[in-house]
Assembly symmetry: C2
Homo-oligomer: 139 residues x 2
Amino acid sequence: MDIVDDLRRNGLRNTKCRTAILDILEQSDQPVAADRLFRELNEKDITVSFSTVYRTLEALTDKKLVTKLIIAGEDKALFEYNRMGHRHYLICLGCKRILAIEHCPLEGYEETLKKETDYVIAGHKLNIYGYCPDCQKNE
Amino acid sequence: MDIVDDLRRNGLRNTKCRTAILDILEQSDQPVAADRLFRELNEKDITVSFSTVYRTLEALTDKKLVTKLIIAGEDKALFEYNRMGHRHYLICLGCKRILAIEHCPLEGYEETLKKETDYVIAGHKLNIYGYCPDCQKNE
DNA sequence: TTGGATGCAAAAGTTTTGCACGGTT
DNA sequence: AACCGTGCAAAACTTTTGCATCCAA
């Protein structure tokens, strides 16, 4: 199982809780909040405490196995499996569904900005908001 | 005073607390957090409670007089006077200073995205992270 | 065996809410 | 006078932490 390898490569011990969390995140096409992970795990009879969920997410985020997202309109952090590579999101304001955008429209712009401001650019976060086809109908 | 007009035009009563909060936000070139507003107001001998600060910010945000920012790396929401028009931010990862970027590098892109996804695009949030010239030196 | 991982409970921090009172219009 | 705005205290909610115990390596 490559999830176990992910953990080992990063010096993290292989525990039920960690593999289960990584597994859920890897299966999900949507970023997931900590409380949802807590509930899903306990439904699967993998009893974990909230502290462990948060501590696990922190460890996985530190090791870059998982990415933490802070999104306007959400009151809590979301986490997703890090499939590497740079991503942006199209977020439906109706159903809150999140779609990943593969292509980055900002290629080249960071260089321009660096010249204008003398900042060293480390990265950027871009989220686009709108309404998905379904939510357009149900209006 | 045009701040009083801002309030009246939006059906909000003109109170010490509201004008003071709008005033601070309007003076500030940086987005401000609720607790900072609370402290600044009380230093100015305008005694307000935390609930009022939050309720005021909620009212002002609803009326679009103020914009609420959720920024990765910050644990609390920031608020800024809404100078209208579309803005992006260049955030220094060292000193947390926030610089507004006037030009939007995404002009035109939303139309492309709409065609690709059939979403109605409502807007976007873009933040760029980096290190300001000062923080580059003190490294 | 040993240090990392977990559970539990409690704390911290931000934000929200209920209710009574006070101020603006 | 009517109704909105405010203060206070308590609650809600997410996230963090201390400490004892447990388990993977």
